[in-house]
């Protein structure tokens, strides 16, 4: 099939680009090498919708972050049924002498258009963030920051893009790209060859390889690993905002992150690695994260930790790489999308669409673009009165599968109907298996529902795609 645009990578960047392009009368193909969207870099994202502070004022990521933050608050949260919580952030200083650093962050932020920032003193912090430790002297309050579930953001964008005609192919790794002399590309993926006039490279960690394949070896991805540790939901209210220390040169530091699902998170570390597959956590990373978090909040204990993971930031230098590659006409790179990529994604998508237009793609709006995506029902997000209402409409909402996170059989079925094909896919969409028992009680039940909905044998059910099957043999 011949497409107008092939987007490589269904992480947050590719998903946002696909959804943006689905507004127009275009044939768009979205390719993902993993079993499901969001299974690459995006799944390890912290879920912060950054305000846009701590970015250099002249950088690409600086203004894209501020614009993405605005789009989330003013449009996307509502349109896509996202559970966005504008909780605000604090950048805390440990020395009185650091207050001038906070003032500089404030001035830089104001230059980028961030509004409502204020310096707050210890008395304000005692009243509003009582768990901050005695070392914290003052802070910068930034009210426009918020939190979201990173994977549910990706799923919402992909679902809405597909609703608007984008074709999605998962488990479909790009293995070869050939430029067509008269313009366009042959893209070999998942054993098929697709043709496209334009190629958008949002391949995350593999973006340098994809760009080189298409004829533009113009940058290199240097993964930077981050370990994150999740705390028990019982500690949900240790912080009311996202808490940052004053940033260092390489990272924003160890944060205390409120999450939209209730579990506070601490992390991430920031260490360069050459291994694009290194998702291991370490004893050292745990110690570093605990020390950093406890400096801000000493009451955080190691025993509060219920889960941990590591992710790789696909860095390509300091800034994002978003450009048309003149050495490979038709190729638009959206690469090096490290923090604040999740926030910036909708703005990146609009920018990519603009670049495509500048290079000859006609953007003719569709007569009927379905802007809205219905919000999926999650018991853990609603009151008991609403739960009663849901159960009256559909008895299976009263059939609890995951006890730690309160997830019903209906939500698991819905997740599968919306595209979950793996246990992680179910977990990311519903939170089933994400709680303190780690699936000890619900895994077999979820596998049975997947069997009923998808016809998969138990031996075919995977954690995150081929090779990660859970069981080796079924005996009857």
């Amino acid at each position: 099939m011949k497409y107008d645009v092939i987007v490589v990578g269904a992480g947050i960047t590719g998903a946002a680009v696909a959804r943006e392009l689905s507004r127009y009368r275009l044939d768009v193909l979205l390719l993902e090498r993993e079993a499901e969207p969001a299974f690459g870099v995006s799944k390890s994202n912290s879920g912060i919708i950054h305000a846009g502070t701590q970015n250099p004022p002249a950088s690409l990521k600086g203004w894209l972050c501020v614009e993405g933050n605005r789009l989330m608050r003013e449009e996307l949260a509502e349109d896509l049924g996202l559970n966005f919580v504008q909780c605000g952030q604090l950048v805390v200083a440990f020395e009185e002498s650091d207050v001038k650093e906070l003032e500089k962050i404030k001035a830089d932020g104001e230059a980028l258009g961030i509004r409502g920032m204020a310096l707050v003193d210890r008395a304000w912090l005692d009243a509003n963030e009582p768990n901050l430790g005695p070392e914290v002297k003052a802070a910068l309050l930034v009210p426009s920051a918020g939190i979201i579930s990173p994977y549910r953001f990706v799923y919402a964008l992909v679902e809405n893009a597909v609703r608007n005609g984008v074709q999605l192919k998962t488990s479909c790794r790009v293995t070869g790209i050939t430029r067509i002399e008269k313009g366009g590309f042959y893209v070999e993926a998942g054993g098929q060859v697709h043709t496209a006039r334009f190629l958008v490279n949002a391949a995350g960690l593999a973006a340098d390889e994809v760009s080189a394949m298409a004829g533009a070896p113009t940058f290199k991805i240097h993964p930077r690993k981050g370990e994150e540790y999740l705390l028990d939901k019982k500690r949900e209210h240790i912080a009311n905002r996202i808490i940052f220390p004053l940033p260092s040169r390489t990272s924003k530091g160890i944060l205390i992150i409120k999450t939209s699902d209730g579990n506070p998170m601490i992390g991430p570390t920031a260490h360069e690695t050459e291994d694009k597959a290194d998702l291991s956590t370490t004893d050292e990373g745990l110690a570093e994260v605990l020390a950093g978090a406890r400096r801000m909040m000493p009451s955080i204990e190691k025993s509060d930790i219920i889960a941990y993971f590591a992710g790789l930031r696909p860095a390509a230098g300091k800034d994002f790489v978003i450009r048309h590659e003149d050495s490979a006409p038709g190729l638009v790179n959206a690469a090096g999308i490290q923090s604040p990529g999740l926030t910036a994604a909708p703005a990146i998508a609009a920018m990519v669409a603009g670049i495509l237009k500048d290079h000859g793609l006609r953007l003719e709006p569709k007569a009927e673009f379905h802007r809205l995506r219905p919000k999926p029902a999650h018991l853990f997000q609603v009151t008991l009165a609403e739960t009663r209402h849901l159960i009256e409409k559909n008895p299976a909402y009263g059939d609890i599968v995951c006890r730690c996170e309160l997830v019903s059989a209906q939500e698991v079925r819905d997740a599968v109907k919306r595209g979950a094909r793996t246990l992680d896919g179910v977990k990311f969409r519903t939170r089933a298996q994400a709680g303190r028992c780690h699936g000890g009680f619900c895994t077999t039940r979820i596998m049975k529902i997947m069997h009923e909905e998808l016809g998969l044998a138990a031996t075919e059910i995977t954690k995150r795609g081929p090779g990660s099957e859970l069981i080796k043999e079924e005996r009857k």
Partner: protein
């Protein structure tokens, strides 16, 4: 809101024993809530023998032991059993909300017994570093897979922790043809029963490494190997003692945690270290009229002891109801 005399949360050995004892002591109305589709709780997946030696003076399997109580509960018309019923809310005034397929129910109980059992400590709680591949299971989940579903989780296994579930699963997996290559225990001795060390490991030639820990799990999609290292008396790694074991499965059996989230919701005091109710005596909680029994109260070695203490909880609730009447 419907009023009930005694509501028991959990239909495992603890909840059933408490229900029967409360009835014997004069309680006229019992509502027994069980989240699963059967009574019996974890006993249903414990198909090994060793149950009932104290209570029945004969050796039974877990399901046989449970069945004796299930029959008695089912025969008593004053015990209403509600299956697939999951309690989502409990207040200090003993108002309960529970979900079941098709309904959200709310009841006010004059007394409540929490017999909610425990959950397993996980790999995450002991913070084993490494990757997060498929093939790492809490031992109890593996037990459920093998014994209830007939699903064999792997071919070559390493077991972390020598608690009873880990020991029993070592034997169970060996019997199913899985190569159990090691049980790795950080302590100097097993936390499990001596009979289980002998019958489950020694009889099957499964090596048990004391004072060792799994220091890393390797594998991208599925477990490929684990790193093991010897530790000193302060649990610090001893340099130069590390080695690796190739395996596709890691079972984690590093202890149990009483499930007392409902008691916490009701304002009951919880010991943060053990997750057990803070109370002057067994089966009591800090909230009047709310009792706890079985593994929710403290982690027991034997189901027989759960039965014995849970019967006491039933009598205590009856006494409380008599005093309140």
């Amino acid at each position: 809101m419907k009023e009930r005399e005694l509501v028991i949360v959990g239909g495992g050995p603890a909840g059933m024993a408490a229900a029967l004892a409360a009835r014997a002591a004069g309680v006229r109305d019992v509502l027994l809530l069980e989240r699963d589709q059967h009574l019996g709780g974890i006993l249903n997946q414990c198909i090994h023998p060793g149950f009932g030696l104290h209570h029945f003076k004969e050796e039974l399997t877990g399901p046989e032991y449970a069945d004796r109580f299930v029959r008695l509960v089912r025969e008593d018309p004053a015990i209403e059993v509600s299956l697939r019923s999951f309690v989502v809310k409990l207040t200090g005034a003993r108002e309960l909300s529970f979900l079941r397929p098709g309904a959200l129910e709310e009841v006010k109980a004059r007394a409540v017994i929490l017999a909610t059992g425990c959950r397993e400590r996980t790999r995450e709680m002991i913070a084993i570093p490494g990757s997060r591949p498929a093939g790492v299971f809490p031992a109890g989940l593996a037990q459920k897979m093998v014994n209830i579903e007939g699903w064999i989780p792997g071919r070559e296994a390493v077991i972390v922790g020598s608690g009873d579930i880990g020991l029993i699963m070592a034997r169970r997996m060996a019997l199913e043809g899985v190569r159990v290559k090691a049980v790795v225990e950080i302590q100097k001795t097993s936390r499990g029963l001596v009979r289980n060390v002998v019958q489950c490991l020694e009889d099957f030639g499964i090596p048990l490494y004391f004072q060792h820990r799994v220091s890393m799990i390797h594998g991208r999609d599925r477990v490929e190997k684990v790193a093991v290292v010897k530790v000193d008396d302060d649990f610090k790694d001893l340099p130069g003692t590390g080695f690796e074991i190739a395996c596709d499965t890691v079972l984690v059996s590093v202890g149990l945690i009483p499930e007392n989230e409902l008691l916490e919701m009701a304002g009951g005091e919880i010991n943060r270290r053990t997750n057990t109710p803070v109370a002057p005596a067994v089966n009591l909680t800090s909230v009047p009229g709310i009792f706890a029994c079985g593994n929710a109260c403290k982690v027991y070695d034997l189901a027989d002891s759960v039965t014995k203490d849970s019967e006491l909880a039933g009598r205590l609730a009856a006494e409380y109801l008599g005093a309140a009447a």
